[in-house]
């Protein structure tokens, strides 16, 4: 009886771990021309958690540019690497867009 309860607990914990660990999918990577001066890196990331695949717009992406601009108010952000990935859980997934670049004066 005790062994069965332990087994059930182990199975339950494994299922819980599976539910919270995600599979990652890389959708796209793009890059702009790299500057010679790469002293000041900047990075921005936007995310959206989608339950049951019900996503009605992709407006969260538009916050990327203002985030990068805030980190480089007096210069040019160049050498930008943009990556779009998603992490899949049970019944839900998260969309993540990351941009890394360099602030040059």
């Amino acid at each position: 009886m005790q062994n069965r309860s332990r087994l059930l607990k182990a199975v339950g914990l494994s299922l819980l771990a599976l539910a919270f660990s995600g599979c990652a999918v890389l959708h796209s990577v793009s890059m702009t021309s790299y500057p010679k001066n790469r002293q000041k890196p900047v990075q921005a990331q936007v995310k959206k958690f989608v339950l049951l695949g019900l996503n009605f717009n992709n407006d969260f992406v538009l916050n990327l540019t203002p985030q990068l601009q805030q980190q480089c108010p007096d210069g040019t952000v160049t050498g930008i690497t943009s990556k779009y990935e998603s992490v899949w859980y049970v019944f839900a997934h998260q969309m993540i867009v990351t941009s890394q670049g360099f602030c040059t004066k």
Binding site: N58, L62, T65, T76, T78, I80, Y84, V97, G101
Partner: protein, 142 residues
Amino acid sequence: MKYTLLLYLVLCSCASLYHVQVADIEASDRGRMIEVMVSETAFDFKSVGQTGLNIAKRNAVQRGDTRAANQIQGAELVLALSNYGPRTGLPVFTDRYSDYVLDELISKCPTGRITGITSIREARQYPYISGEIVNIRGFCAE
């Protein structure tokens, strides 16, 4: 109540995001924001064909018509082979809808100095139909 919810789920579109790219940002001279969105309607022939074949196959099996059921299996194979391979979004009849994005951007920004361009390839999906969209947003430096 449940039918209203079902109708809402059918009629409202689900958004898919395929590709995002951020171009260089001249942060000191952002100018005004401009946006160009072009799209093309796509039909999900694979799903429509599969639904039709499933109905025909069920009818053939119920009638005991094995010859018709085999023919439908052949049609399923043709459908599967003609939809084989990776793709972004649903297929459209022409992809020229994205060719005029640059012209539209320049018409909205006559100076031609556009910075901080975010390019988004996305889709709005309805049952058996979708809008395949290219959305470009940037800042026009005056």
